[in-house]
């Protein structure tokens, strides 16, 4: 069993028009830039994209938006530095937005991966974001009921990957990726280094291979933050 794929385009070829896709990363940390750009080369349209943010500058998710591939963003914070690709289209009514509190977003994705269709959280109780959602009291405190999030495809970035798809992550680049790997029908990871079976200590595996369908090696991956600071643009 070897889940290695020969190219980035193989990995993203599973994404079809209208799909929901999860993309790992928090800002530039953990963003699978090469996978995203390979997806842009194939230009599927009408996508719902789940990520913490809504793209910055003119690379990554922002470039997907500029190429009119994204119909809806589900995210917690679409307003970080230079989010203009999203902002312009949002204010023009050309892209939908579902804003979700960050912890609720993480938990909804985990729930999707863990087979938990709904759960209760205190976050957003009493606020505009809780409107229309069921509420209930537990031990004297009010909670809001939230539903799982799932996706057709997840695109993530790992550090080490072995042929079975076992993954580690580099520092804080871990963020949403282990959760998204669980919550998508198919998960594709770019890894900075492909290692042999047994090279990852079983106690250090963060994402067990059962959650990974394919991996592509991208040595020395580009860092979104650096690209944005350099004014890069894709394509």
């Amino acid at each position: 069993m070897d889940k290695s794929l020969s190219s980035l385009s193989d990995a993203v070829s599973h994404v079809r028009d209208g799909m929901t896709i999860m993309i790992g990363g928090f800002g530039g940390s953990g963003a699978p830039i090469e996978l995203i750009h390979a997806l842009i080369d194939q230009r599927p349209r009408g996508l719902t994209v789940i990520n913490n943010n809504a793209g910055n500058g003119h690379v990554g998710i922002a470039a997907m938006i500029e190429q009119d591939m994204v119909q809806k963003m589900i995210c917690s914070f679409p307003r970080s530095s230079d989010p203009r690709a999203f902002t312009e289209r949002y204010l023009a009514g050309k892209i939908e937005l579902e804003v979700v509190p960050q912890g609720t977003l993480a938990e909804r994705v985990r729930a999707g991966g863990a087979g938990i269709p709904a759960f209760f959280t205190p976050a957003s109780f009493g606020t505009d974001l809780a409107e229309g959602k069921p509420k209930e009291e537990f031990d004297g405190k009010m909670y809001v009921r939230e539903n799982w999030l799932k996706a057709d495809v997840a695109l993530i970035k790992g550090e080490l990957g072995d042929p079975h798809g076992n993954l580690t992550y580099r520092m804080a680049a871990r963020n949403f990726s282990p959760l998204m790997a669980m919550a998508a029908e198919k998960t594709f990871a770019q890894v900075s280094k492909r290692v042999e079976l047994g090279d990852i200590n079983p106690e250090h595996v963060v994402t067990p291979g059962i959650f990974v369908d394919g991996l592509v090696t991208v040595a020395d991956p580009q860092q979104e933050e650096a690209l944005i600071q350099a004014g890069a643009r894709y394509p």
């Binding site: 069993m1 985990r110 999707g112 991966g113 863990a114 087979g115 938990i116 072995d162 042929p163 079975h164 076992n166 669980m182 919550a183 042999e196 079976l197 047994g198 079983p202 106690e203 595996v205 067990p208 291979g209 059962i210 959650f211």
Partner: protein
């Protein structure tokens, strides 16, 4: 009652037959006890990754006696071994794999299985100490839920039934039954017979089964080597 002593498959043979359907590249949970035997008969050339509820994926076979490491066990609390590619994780992640539908197959033992896929495999309902373990999670977990079982109880009562009379583990879960006499799929229309041992007639097999056995196309011979 038909005497099936000489024609029924042994447990090892049932496990062997179930093992023939293991898919290359699949993730499989084997219930504790008898189902664990399936791994011994995994066909050559296929990679099957076994999951155990207590947080191990891709473990290897039992170690030689005396070389057990009791921190490296399966859900049946038997010692297993490491293999290249093994991963450890905590119990919530382990059951996220189960409940989230990430396993391709779980193979379980059972007391009864009904024609609608209901399964009763956790309690005889006779008092004593109730104990469920992971059974109620596993029956909802995998894409396919197979059971391996004698076709009838020691007293000769059918274990494949119209409606379970014993305490249920889960509703409408089971997709395939490997018994000591037959391989049966659970479908929309009920039990569909796929294989039967050659030495039993359809009529006799039906007589030992508590619900109608439907036939769709050919019924294959359930022939197993002496394992």
């Amino acid at each position: 009652m038909i005497d099936i002593t000489d024609i029924k498959l042994s447990n090892a043979q049932i496990a062997w037959r179930a093992a023939q359907d293991l898919q290359d590249g699949s993730y499989v949970n084997l219930g504790i006890g008898f189902p664990e035997m399936v791994a011994q008969f995994q066909p050559e050339g296929r990679t099957v990754t076994y999951h155990t509820e207590n947080g191990v994926l891709g473990f290897g076979e039992a170690p030689p006696k005396g070389e057990e490491d009791w921190d490296l066990i399966n859900a049946g609390k038997k010692a297993v071994t490491l293999k290249p590619g093994t991963a450890f994780f905590h119990h919530a992640d382990s059951f996220a794999m189960v409940r989230g539908g990430h396993l391709d197959l779980a193979i379980l033992g059972t007391y009864q299985v009904a024609q609608n896929g209901d399964i009763a495999n956790w309690s005889t309902g006779k008092g004593g100490v109730p104990a469920v373990g992971g059974a109620m999670d596993l029956v909802h977990g995998a894409k396919q839920i197979a059971v391996i079982t004698d076709h009838v109880t020691k007293k000769g009562d059918p274990k494949l039934v119209e409606t379970c009379t014993m305490p249920l583990t889960g509703l409408g879960c089971v997709t395939r039954v490997y018994s000591s006499l037959a391989v049966v799929d659970v479908t929309e229309k009920g039990f569909v017979l796929r294989d039967k041992v050659a030495a039993i007639s359809l009529e006799d097999l039906q007589a030992l089964t508590g619900a109608e056995l439907h036939i769709e196309g050919d019924v294959a011979d359930l022939a197993c080597p002496d394992v």
